[in-house]
């Protein structure tokens, strides 16, 4: 009550409006909504994680490490490597290409209608995945795809040159199709938050455009770039349907391996699936920890 009656806070020259005081009763609703969210998240994320972990070290006779040890098997190691390489490559392409596209689209020289067109398209394309995406690529870049044949009629035989849509390179290109627009969507706000005053001040103080980006633009963007990279890494790492539809499991990825062992005709083994899932969680947590460390360093000037 007494707070609400005071004048706006003045902190050394800048006028800050204090939000109206709500009292304890007014906080019950927000806390219960947030609490519910945390409870649900715990239920559907933490609990299964624990169950998976337990399952991966248990068999009919009790505790065992054989399923986790099986992760060292040749085909599983390949799946780990493929998944990580594919995720890093497609996330890197997404970050660079999506970042550049967003940068050019928001430049003042571009019409504002172009910006909204690109944003809307990106929102759709970023969610275009799975069987339809695989089909779209097969019909353009497959062995008999339109683009492949068009290039062939121009004398360029991309399959003859070693390209295959059904290889790691092909998968990376297909993944880039949703990674790039995803990057456009998540980086645009960060780019818009770069103030023209920074750019003009640096120019006015004699800096070149390269110096501006190296000393101000990129350092300020770095935390956003790191979180964008994690998001893109995660979206590729957990993708399943696109890869499966495209390669029918010929390229081993962690997600397709899990599907195989769960539904496998030969040996259905939930424990191996659980062990693989635990492996994925460990990789994801590792990526998060490393990037959080980078991010803390990159944003030490912030708050």
């Amino acid at each position: 009550m007494s707070q609400a009656a005071t004048t706006p806070l003045r902190r050394d020259g800048v006028v800050h409006k204090r939000p109206a005081s709500q009292g304890v009763a007014g906080l019950i609703l927000p806390y219960s909504v947030i609490g519910l969210f945390i409870a649900l998240a715990a239920l559907f994320m933490a609990a299964p994680t624990v169950m998976l972990a337990v399952q991966s070290v248990t068999d009919d006779h009790g505790f065992t490490l054989k399923y986790l040890e099986a992760l060292g098997g040749d085909n599983i190691v390949v799946a780990f490597r493929n998944s990580i390489v594919l995720s890093i490559a497609s996330a890197a392409i997404g970050v660079v290409a999506g970042g550049l596209i967003a940068y050019f689209v928001i430049s003042p020289a571009m019409p504002i209608t172009l910006r909204s067109a690109v944003t809307s398209f990106s929102a759709v394309a970023a969610n275009f995945a799975g069987v339809p995406l695989a089909f779209a690529f097969v019909s353009t870049l497959g062995t008999l795809g339109m683009l492949t044949q068009g290039l062939r009629s121009l004398g360029v035989d991309i399959y003859g040159l070693g390209f295959s849509l059904f290889s790691m390179t092909g998968l990376t290109i297909v993944y880039a199709y949703f990674q790039i627009p995803l990057m456009v969507i998540i980086i645009t706000p960060a780019l818009l938050a770069l103030r023209t005053e920074w750019r003009e001040s640096s120019e006015n103080l004699g800096a070149t455009s390269g110096q501006y980006w190296r000393m101000i633009g990129l350092p300020v963007l770095l935390p956003s770039l790191i979180s964008a990279f994690i998001l893109l890494f995660g979206s590729a790492f957990s993708a399943y349907a696109t890869a499966y539809a495209l390669t029918s499991g010929n390229i081993a990825l962690l997600t397709t391996e899990i599907a195989n062992v769960l539904s496998g005709d030969v040996s259905s083994s939930p424990q191996t699936g659980a062990a693989l899932a635990v492996g994925m969680i460990v990789v994801m947590v590792g990526v998060l920890v490393i990037s959080a460390a980078f991010s803390r360093r990159a944003s030490r000037w912030h708050k």
């Binding site: 001040s201 120019e203 103080l205 912030h302």
Partner: protein, 361 residues
């Protein structure tokens, strides 16, 4: 420290003229305020001087050198924006040494120079703070130090105080004046606050509609405004429309009000007589209006502390005529709203401007 000459500078956007062939001459170490209402072209002119905008016509010379074709980075000018211009990822010290750093100075030199400037703006003990850890006023001081660190020929400030609250604004404007005198850097400060302009400028450049209406010392701007816009825009002025007649002005009710001898040149023309509130004296009406005075009604009296400001209506004159009078507050009891009074003044006080001139600008 350099002279600045802008010659025949004009700029339009989509056929709309924002600056109309404008000339501005600045002496070495001079501080000029560009003063005018919002949208009159102040920022555009400042950014043309800085090199961020290319003028459609005209040239900018600094110290006799034509810089019109140079990019901002090559102009040796320091610029301070309204707010939020500090690099957020750098401490105060790193912000200030940015200019010397990109100029390739040795690091010890950069740090020494930045330290001196942070001293100059009184922030030596805040050198390791990031912008978000500083108040708005402190941030503007750092921005000022950063602009000065490159030893600019010209310092350009675009409304550097308008995002700050009143008390800090007052402090910082004194400080800008002190630092400008110490460093002797030729300075252009944009403001829409006339009090700010009058209090710190060597000369004030009053702008409206993309034109410079008058460039003169604060006291000349106040006492001898060049036209009706300046007279109305700067300070408070009572306005009496009439027709020049010899060295006097005839009001529409027939009253003849003496004016200074220069008015004789305008004989026969429509004019407006401007009177500052501090020059107008009031007496309670006692039945007759002496020559050179006007009958008026007190409309409103505003207590301002030591002074009370009285607003007068002139029942015998057209609607847009009006007067203000300031008086010591201890006499104000005699002049409550509704009181009939006579208003008079010394015959050298009014400033007379031809109406045609007012319309032309």
């Amino acid at each position: 420290m350099a002279t600045v000459e802008a010659r025949g500078v004009s700029k339009s956007y989509q056929g709309r003229t924002v600056l109309a062939s404008l000339d501005l001459d600045m002496g070495e170490a001079e501080l000029i305020c560009l003063l005018g209402p919002s949208g009159c072209g102040k920022t555009t002119l400042l950014r043309i001087i800085a090199g961020f905008i290319t003028p459609d016509t005209g040239t900018v010379h600094v110290g006799g050198r034509d810089v019109t074709a140079l990019p901002p980075a090559a102009r040796k000018m320091g610029m301070v924006f309204q707010a939020y211009s500090l690099f957020p990822n750098m401490t105060a010290l790193d912000n200030v040494r940015f200019g010397p750093r990109v100029a390739g100075q040795a690091k010890t030199e950069q740090v020494k120079r930045a330290g001196e400037l942070l001293d100059l703006v009184g922030l030596a003990q805040h050198r390791d703070k990031y912008p978000h850890q500083m108040s708005g006023g402190q941030q503007q001081r750092v921005a000022l130090a950063r602009a000065l660190a490159v030893r600019p020929d010209v310092l350009l400030l675009d409304e550097p105080l308008s995002a700050l609250d009143a008390k800090v604004r007052l402090q910082l404007r004194e400080e800008i004046r002190r630092i400008q005198r110490e460093t002797k850097v030729t300075t252009v400060l944009v403001t829409h606050d006339q009090e700010e302009a009058l209090s710190i400028s060597d000369r004030v450049a009053v702008m409206n509609g993309g034109k410079l209406l008058q460039v003169a010392t604060p006291s000349v701007i106040y006492r001898q405004p060049a036209d009706a816009f300046v007279a109305r825009f700067i300070g408070l002025a009572g306005i009496l429309p009439g027709v020049a007649e010899g060295a006097a002005v005839r009001m529409s009710n027939g009253t003849i009000l003496p004016a200074d001898a220069a008015v004789a040149h305008q004989s026969g023309r429509s004019v407006e007589m401007f009177l500052r509130p501090e020059h107008v004296r009031l007496q309670r009406m006692n039945g007759h209006v002496p020559p050179g005075a006007l009958a008026a009604d007190v409309q409103e009296a505003t207590f301002l502390g030591s002074l009370t400001r009285v607003r007068l209506r002139l029942p015998e004159l057209p609607d847009h005529a009006g007067l203000w009078a300031d008086m010591p507050s201890e006499h104000a009891a005699d002049f409550a709203p509704g009181q009939r009074v006579t208003a008079h003044w010394h015959e050298t006080s009014p400033h007379v401007i031809a109406v045609e001139a007012a319309q032309a600008s």
